[in-house]
Assembly symmetry: C4
Amino acid sequence: MAKVFDAAEVAKHNTSESCWVILYGKVYDVTDFLSEHPGGAKIILKLSGKDATEEYDPIHPPGTLETELKPECCLGTVDASTLPKVEGLAEPQEPAQGPPPVETLLNLDEIEEVASKQVSKKAWAYYYSASDDMFSKRFNNEVYKSILLRPRVFVDCTKCDLDTSILDYKLGMPIYVSPAAMARLGHPSGEAGIAEACRSFGAMQIISNNASMTPEQIVKDAAPDQVFGWQIYVQVDRKKSETMLARINKLKNIKFIVLTLDAPVPGKREDDERNSLAGASTAVTSGVKAAERTSDDTPDVSGASGGVGQQLFAGTDPSLTWQETLPWLAKHTDLPIVLKGLQTHEDAYLASLHTPQVKGIILSNHGGRASDTAPPAVYTLLEIRKYCPEVFDKLEVYVDGGIKRGTDVVKALCLGAKAVGIGRGALWGLAAGGVDGVRRTLQILADETKTAMRLLGVETVDKLGPQHINTRMAEQQIYDGPSGLDSLRRVFRAKL
Amino acid sequence: MAKVFDAAEVAKHNTSESCWVILYGKVYDVTDFLSEHPGGAKIILKLSGKDATEEYDPIHPPGTLETELKPECCLGTVDASTLPKVEGLAEPQEPAQGPPPVETLLNLDEIEEVASKQVSKKAWAYYYSASDDMFSKRFNNEVYKSILLRPRVFVDCTKCDLDTSILDYKLGMPIYVSPAAMARLGHPSGEAGIAEACRSFGAMQIISNNASMTPEQIVKDAAPDQVFGWQIYVQVDRKKSETMLARINKLKNIKFIVLTLDAPVPGKREDDERNSLAGASTAVTSGVKAAERTSDDTPDVSGASGGVGQQLFAGTDPSLTWQETLPWLAKHTDLPIVLKGLQTHEDAYLASLHTPQVKGIILSNHGGRASDTAPPAVYTLLEIRKYCPEVFDKLEVYVDGGIKRGTDVVKALCLGAKAVGIGRGALWGLAAGGVDGVRRTLQILADETKTAMRLLGVETVDKLGPQHINTRMAEQQIYDGPSGLDSLRRVFRAKL
Amino acid sequence: MAKVFDAAEVAKHNTSESCWVILYGKVYDVTDFLSEHPGGAKIILKLSGKDATEEYDPIHPPGTLETELKPECCLGTVDASTLPKVEGLAEPQEPAQGPPPVETLLNLDEIEEVASKQVSKKAWAYYYSASDDMFSKRFNNEVYKSILLRPRVFVDCTKCDLDTSILDYKLGMPIYVSPAAMARLGHPSGEAGIAEACRSFGAMQIISNNASMTPEQIVKDAAPDQVFGWQIYVQVDRKKSETMLARINKLKNIKFIVLTLDAPVPGKREDDERNSLAGASTAVTSGVKAAERTSDDTPDVSGASGGVGQQLFAGTDPSLTWQETLPWLAKHTDLPIVLKGLQTHEDAYLASLHTPQVKGIILSNHGGRASDTAPPAVYTLLEIRKYCPEVFDKLEVYVDGGIKRGTDVVKALCLGAKAVGIGRGALWGLAAGGVDGVRRTLQILADETKTAMRLLGVETVDKLGPQHINTRMAEQQIYDGPSGLDSLRRVFRAKL
Amino acid sequence: MAKVFDAAEVAKHNTSESCWVILYGKVYDVTDFLSEHPGGAKIILKLSGKDATEEYDPIHPPGTLETELKPECCLGTVDASTLPKVEGLAEPQEPAQGPPPVETLLNLDEIEEVASKQVSKKAWAYYYSASDDMFSKRFNNEVYKSILLRPRVFVDCTKCDLDTSILDYKLGMPIYVSPAAMARLGHPSGEAGIAEACRSFGAMQIISNNASMTPEQIVKDAAPDQVFGWQIYVQVDRKKSETMLARINKLKNIKFIVLTLDAPVPGKREDDERNSLAGASTAVTSGVKAAERTSDDTPDVSGASGGVGQQLFAGTDPSLTWQETLPWLAKHTDLPIVLKGLQTHEDAYLASLHTPQVKGIILSNHGGRASDTAPPAVYTLLEIRKYCPEVFDKLEVYVDGGIKRGTDVVKALCLGAKAVGIGRGALWGLAAGGVDGVRRTLQILADETKTAMRLLGVETVDKLGPQHINTRMAEQQIYDGPSGLDSLRRVFRAKL
C-alpha cells in the first residue's frame, strides 16, 4: 500500500539534494531527474516541495510522467486535506463571469478579446507573445490590408464552393489549423477539441510536436477521411524523435509530416518571458539566453528559466540540414514531407529540388515568434512569383501568419497558396468557447471567404488568381536584390 | 364591424403556430405569412403578440401590407388603452434636445456628428456601418486627400457655374443623391424629403429599390424637369421586379434605371449586425450567413436574422449576368440602363460594349459596404484612364463613395467623372434636419465645389481636367498587372 | 458744441431704419452706410445701438472712419458714465497671467502656444484657421521633414553669414515677414511693432493690404535702408486701389508691390467662421457663401457674416488677369511687381514672360488658407526645377508656408528660393511678446538657420544648393503629368 | 594652516568683482578665472558664494581644478557645519526606491525607462536630448524597422560566434560603446564602470573627449588586450589638445584616435536647454546662441548659458579641415585616425583618399544631436554602396545611432559595417545599474544578435551580407541626385 504524506513533510524536500513534487495527488522524488528535465532543473526547483499539478498538467501530454520517471520515484500519495487550497487551473484576469455565447462574436478580433479575458495570464502570454517588438506579428496582418481586391461584377454568384484538396486529400475548406502548442492551457478539451471542430468542416489540422495531448488522443474520434499532419521538432536525442515517428506512422489519419525550419532556436518572446518572471521567485535572464545554452561552453550563471516557449524548446536540434535531415527522415517514415518556415525564394527553390520526398512547403515566419522583422508569408509568395514561379508547379505551397478575415484568405489563394493556416486563431477560439469556439472561428472564416469569393465573382477556390487582386503596394516592398538562385543552380547541377 | 382586441389577448399569439402582430392599431394574423417574409420568420416572431408598428413602419413603404397579406388576415383593431406606452419612433441615444440649427453646421462631418445623436441606434448602425474592418469606407475618403490640386492663378474667376447634364438632362450641379435605403429611419420626411431638397438645387436623385416610401410618393411633388433614376435590385421572384419596372415606366421624372452590381450578396456590416444582436432575444449569426442561405442546401441552424442590411437584401437575385439580365431588362423597360458598382477597368470596358442600352456606369464599392479592401472609385477611374480611356467616350461615368468636400467633387470630375453621388451624406443631412438638413448638405458641397473651382481658375465643370490635379501618389498604388482586356476583346470579336 | 447722448438713447437706434453706433466715445449714424460697408450690413447691425469700438478698432486702420463717413454722420458724444463696463480689447481664454519672458521660449511652436493663450478667441481663430480640413496647412510643414539634409564635414565653419539681397536691396537675413493682416488683433503695437523688430535684424516686411495700421504708420520709424513690400488686393472699386497705390508710391521704404493671386476668393476657414458664429446672435452661413455673393444673382438669404477673413475679403476683385491687371498696375506705379501665390510650374513660367515689370514670384498656397490640398511651396519649387528651371534665371523666387525651423529655411534656399516668408510666425511672436516677441521669433530662426548652415559646411546663403539635401521622397510625390508649357509657349510665340 | 570660513562669509563674494566658490570643502577665489572658464562666466556666477561641488563634480575629471587655478586661489576650507544641508548628487524624479534588478530588464527600452527614473533631471535631459524636433533621433531607430530580414533555413546553426576585429585588434563582439560624455552624471562608477563592463565581453569602448574621468582612470583596470579609442574635440587652444594627445599616446590600451566631425558647432538640444532654464535664476537664450558666439563680433547680450551640451562644447574649434587638421594630428600622434560623423558618400570617399593615416570612418549623425533631419547611418551606408563601394575596401566602416535590438546590429553589419556603436544605450545601462547595468545592456544586445544570426542561418559576423536583408524601402528614400564624386576626383587627380 502506498504511503500517505503530509504536505508539510513534502515541503521539506525542496532542494537539489532532495527534491520532491506532488503531481495528481501522488508524491514523486525527482532529485535524480533534475538534470535530465528538458525544460531545465530550475523550473522544477521552483515547484519543489509543492503540488506542481497546476503547472505540469496543461503542458505535458499523458504518459510523460510514466516515460520519464522510474516507478520507484513514486513515493506514495499526499493527504489532500493537508494541502493549501488550490485556486483552480486558470487564474482569470477578471472576476469570473461566463464568456458571451460564441454565436454573438462576429469576427476573430472579438473572439481573441473574449478569450484573453478567459485564460490564465500564462496562457495569454504564451499565445499572444511574439518576438522582440512584435513588428512581424503586426505586419503579417497589415500587409493583407495593403492588397486591394478587384471585384468582377455581373457574374452569377449563386454557387460558391470552398472545397479543395491537399496532397490529393479532399478538404472542405482551404483553411487549416496550424501546429500550435499547448492547447490545454486555454481549454481542457485541448487539441482533441480542435480536431472535433475541424471534423465539422472537413478542415485539416496539423498537430504540434508540443501538443498537450498525445497524437493518439487527438485523432481518436476523427472522421475516417479527416486529414491531419504532424509537426516534428527534431530532437537532439534523435531516438526520441524516431520513437515518435514510429507512433505517427501507425495513425492512418496523419497524412504527412511537417518539418519546422523557422525556429531552429527560439525567438525572444518578451510577453511570455515577462509573465514567467512575474511568477518566478528567482531572477531569470532573457529568453535569448536559452538559444545560447545550446552552443556556449561558458556556464550559464544567470538563472534563466524563460517563458513557456523557452521550456517547450528544450532539446530541439538546431543542426538540421538539407543533406542530413531529409535522408534521416526517409529512414523513419514514408509519409510525404512538408517543410515549414520558408521565407525566401531561394529556400523555396531548394525545396523544389527535393521532390518527391518533399511535397509541400509552408511559407511562414512562425507567427512573428522567431525572427522579428522577418517577412510576412505574402512577401515570400510574391518573391517566388517573381524569381522562380516554377516552384508552384512542383510543390504545394501553403502560408500562415496574420490571417484574420476571409479577404485575407482569398488574397493568399489568389497569389498561389493552396491553403492558409491559422494558429493563434484556433487557440483563441478554443479558449473563448471550447469546441464551439473553434467551430465559430472556422465558420466565420469560411463565411467571410465565401462572401469575398462571391463578391469577386469567383465560384471555386481554384479559379482565384492574381488578376483578382492589386498587389502594387506590396510589390514595391519585396526583395529586389540579386537572387541566390544562380549559384544554387550551379551547385545542384554540379552534383547531378 | 371590426372586432376590438385587448393587448393581452393578442400577446398570447406569439408562436409559429399562431402568430399575431399589431400594426397601425390593427391586429393581423401573420401565421401563414411567416415562411414568405422576405426578411425571414425570425424577425416577425420576435415581435409576435406585440405592437410591431415602430419596427415595421420606417422600413416598409405604404402598400406593402396590402400587397403581402390577404384581407382576411386583418382580424380587427386593438384597444389602444390596453397597449403599453410606446416610446416614439426614434430612441435617441442622448436626452432629447433639439439639434442645432442646420445653418450653424459648417461641413459634412459636423452634420454627421449631429445626426448621429439624433437618430435611433438602429438607424445609426444601418447608415454608419460598412464591411468588415471598414477599410474601404475610410479609404474612399482618404484617397481624395492624397490627390493634390494644381490651382492656376491670374484667371478671372468672377463667374462659376455648376450646371451640367446627365444623359442629356440638365442638372443644377454635378452632385447627386445615391440610392440609399431606409430614409424614414432617419427622419419622417424620408426619400420625399430628399427629393424636395434636390428640387431646390436642380440636383438628381437615384431612388433606392429599398426606399421606405413608394417611388410614386417620392416623385409626387417633383419639378417638371427634375431628374430621377430608379435603382433596381433584381429579385429572385422576377415577377416582383417586373411589376416594379412597370410602375417605374409610368413615372415621367424617372429617366433611367440603375442596376446595382456591386452587392450581389450582402457584405458583412458588423455595426449593423451588432445593433441587431443587442436588441434580439435570441442568438443570431453573422451576416455572412445570409449570403450562404441563398445557395447552401444545408439547413440554417444558427438562428440568423442579421442587421437591417441583411433583411433588406432578402430575395435579391445573385445570378445576374451580362448575357441574361440586360436582355430581360430590355423586355421590361425602354429606359436607359446605368450599371452601378463597377470596380475594374475590365468591367468598365465590358459595359462600353453594351451601348446603346447601357448609357452610363457608376464606379462604386457600395460605400465600402460590400467587399472590404475593394478599391475606391478614384482608383477605378485611374485604371480606366490607364488601360481603356475610350470608355469615357462611349459611356457617362459617375462615381460615389467617400465624398465629403467640394475638393473631393472637383478631383473626381477632373479625372473624367460626369457626376458624383453622395449616399450617407444625404441621409445624415436628412437625419440632422429633415429637408433643410439635406438642403444644407447640398448647399455646403455646392459652395465648396464652386470655391474649389474658382481657386483652380475654372469656370464650368466641363473645363475641369487631369491637368488640374496631381495624382502621383494614387497612381503609384493602382493595379499594374496584366489587363484582362485582350482576352475580352478576343471573345467579343469572335462573337461578332 | 457736440451733443452728449445717454447710452440708453443710442440703444434705441438698432435697426436698419435707424442704426447708430458708438466709436471712440462718439456717436455715429451709420444708417446710410449700411449698404456700402465692405464687410456687409449684418456685422454692423449686430453692433447697432452699442459701443462698437472693441470690434472696430483692431481691424480698421486710422482714417477709415473719416474716409468712409460724411462729417454730419457724427451726431455727438456719449456720456461715458452711462455705458456698460467694457471688458478690455482682448478676452483672454485663461485667467490673465503675464506670458513667460520671450527669452525662455525656445522655438516657434512654444511661441505659438504662449500666444494662443494670450490673444482673444477672435484673434486666435483668425490667425490659426486654414481651409477645410487644414491638410495643406499641416502638409506645408510636414513636407520639410521629408527632406533630409546632407551635412558635409571637415569644413571650416567658423564664419557664417545670413546676409542676402532681394531685388538688389541688401537684407540681414533671407527670412522675411509675409503680408499677414490684422496684427493689432494680437497686440496693440501692430504692424509697426513688426517693423520695429525687423529693423533690428535688417529683415524685410511685406505690409498687408489689410493691415490694421496705415502704411504710413508702419514705415514711420523705419531705418533708411529698411526694405518693405506692399501687398495689394485689387478692389472691385479700382479707384480705392489707385488711391492706395498713389500713397504707397510716396513711401520710399516700400520697394515693390506684391500682387496676391492665390486668394481671388476666400477659402473656407472654419475655425474663423465658427468663432464668428459663437458670438453672433443670428444664424450665419458658411464662408463659402461669400465667394458666391460676388457672382451669383440669386439673393443671399442665409444671413452670412463669416469670420474675420470673410469680412476682410469684401470688395476684392476676383477678375484679375495677366492681360488686364499688369498693364493697369503699370499705369499706377513704377515699382517692381512680385506675384504671390503661384502653385504650378506653368504659372511660374508665365510670370517669367512678364519681365521686367514682374521681378519676382512668391510660391505660396496662402498658408493653407485658400485651397485645401493645394501643394506646398516646396513641391512647386521642385516642379519648376523639373519642368522649367530657367525661371530661376529670370525671376527671384520666394516661398512661404510651413516654415518653423532653421532647417526648413535652409531646405527652401537649397532648392532655389531667394528668401522665405513667415506669416503666422510673426503674428504669434507679436501676440506672445509684442516687438520683443517678433524679435525673439526672428532671432530663433536666424540662429537655427546659421546652425543648420554651419552643420552643412556652408558659409553664405548663396552657396546652398540642391546637393545639400535629399529630396527623394518629395520628388516621388510631385506632379508628373504632361506639362502645360508647350501650349503656353505656342500661344506666346504666336503673340510675338 | 588653512583658514576656515563660515558659509555666510563665503556667500558675500557672489559678484564678478569678488567671486568665491566652495568645492570639496575648500574655498576658492575664482574672480580672475571667470573670463577664462570654457563654460562661460555666467554658470560660475550662478553658483558664486555657494558650495558648487554638486554641480562641478560629475562633469569635471579629477585634476581639472589643479590645472586651471593657481595655488593661491585656494583660500582655505569651509566650516562644514555652517553649510546648508546638501541633498545629494542626484535629485531623483521619483521618491527613491531601488531600481529593479537588471536581470529582470528584457530589452534596451526597459533599461532606459528604469534609468530615466533613477537619474537627476539634468542627467536625463543631457542624455535624452537631441536636436530640434528630434526627428533624426527617432528616425535613426525607425529606419532599421523598415529593413526586413531574409532568414535562410535548414542550415546548421548550432554554432554562432560574435568574434570580430577592428583595425586588426580582436574583439568579443561587433558592438562597441560610442564616445558619450558625462557618465558620472548617471552613476558614480562613470566611464571606468563602462570599461569594466566592456572587459567582461571583450567589447571596445571609445572614450569621450568630455569624459567625467581622466583617460588614465578609465583604462586603469583594463585587460591587457582590451581595446579603447579616444575621441578628440580639437580645441581652439591647440596646446590643450596637444597636451591631451601626449597623455593618450602613453596609454597602451588606446589604439586609435577618433576625430569627431559631425558637431563642429553644437546642435540645438531643447530638452537639455529647458532643464538648464528651469534651474537658472537668469534668463538664458537658446543654445543656437553658443554657436554664434564663436564667430559673431556683436556682443552677446542675451545672457546665454545653455544646457550641459552647450557648456561641454565651449572651446571647441570649428575650423577643422582635411588640409590642416590631419597633418597637425600626424605631428602629435602616430595612432591611426578614425573619422566620426560622415553623412555623405562624398565625405566617405574623401576619407578613403587619406589612408593610411585614416584607417576607419564612423557613419553617424551624432545620435540626432547635431543637425536635425540629418540622415541615419544606414542611409549613408546605402549611399556609399550605391556611389562608391570601393570605400569598404580601403577603410573600416562603423556606424552608430538608433541601435536598440540585435536585429538592428545584424542589419548594419549586413550592409558592410564592421561594428556598431551604442552611446545612450551604455549610459542608460550605467544609470540603471552601474557596471552590471552596462553588462546587462551588452548581454542583451549580444544575445539578440546571436539569435538573429542563427535565425538567418549565419555562423560568424563576416558571413553576413546584403543577401540577408531586404532594403527595398530604404533604398527608395536615399539620395538619388548627382554625385559630388566627379569633381572630387578631378580635384584630387590634379593635386597628385
